[in-house]
Point group: C2
Chain length 141, copies 2
């Protein structure tokens, strides 16, 4: 433990790397988790980051991070799954999109790569959702 | 697919929710992955988000997202694991901290909860690293 001033006093600006293009047009239609009937989607990458896609292959399993831009960032306690019969709980022990930094975490498979457009398996984010990162899934060694 | 203007033209400000307190003082000493000898660490949460911890329990498995604030955000291709014998590859198919949005993804176990301080298992982030989110691990249903 140190007593130095926290580096976290700063704030940091995210630069979206891609945008979700999906038949999911609105939040009401979006499933809460990918396995609950989410459709395939396209990720359309920004021209400035295309070099970052080099080495990505169809069939790769990746973690995609989104910015759930319509989420309420001032909420710290929720009824999990919007079910009022569930007792209120702190957002950090739930997968609620409402939280101080609404980052969505999605494990997906790459289905197709077409230049700046990457088609992925079941994604529960709505059309227009910004993508902030993509990483390979690490399997236990 | 829509042809509407991308929502991702905007940028988004992250607000750190906690800070890593770790015996890892510098990047040179930090292992590349948690299973490569990373130490336990404390996450010290900001006073404004403590309600979000409600319901968190010792023994819970969580995903912690960090902001790797010392990473180079302008790099799009790297030699994986800083090994120059590995061919250059796009950052989105590697776990390099260098990438447009240097978000670190860590699967951890909660070992102790002491007010605003949460002790977690093996974490490869250095002392002072901002934490931006924490979520429960979802197991396949």
């Amino acid at each position: 433990m140190t007593t130095s001033r926290s580096d976290s006093a700063a704030s940091f600006a995210l630069r979206p790397i891609a945008t979700v293009r999906s038949p999911l047009a609105d939040l009401a239609a979006a499933p809460k988790q990918a396995h609950e009937g989410a459709p395939e989607a396209w990720l359309v990458f920004e021209p400035g980051v295309l070099d970052g896609l080099e080495g990505l292959r169809v069939g790769d399993d990746v973690v995609v991070l989104t910015w759930l831009h319509r989420a309420d960032r001032d909420v710290l306690r929720v009824h999990p799954r919007d079910d009022f019969s569930n007792p209120m709980q702190g957002v950090f022990s739930t997968r609620s999109p409402a939280r101080p930094n609404p980052v969505g975490l999605h494990e997906l498979r790459i289905l197709e790569i077409d230049g700046a457009r990457v088609r992925v398996s079941a994604l529960e984010a709505v059309d227009g959702t910004p993508v902030i990162d993509m990483k390979p899934v690490l399997r236990p060694v």
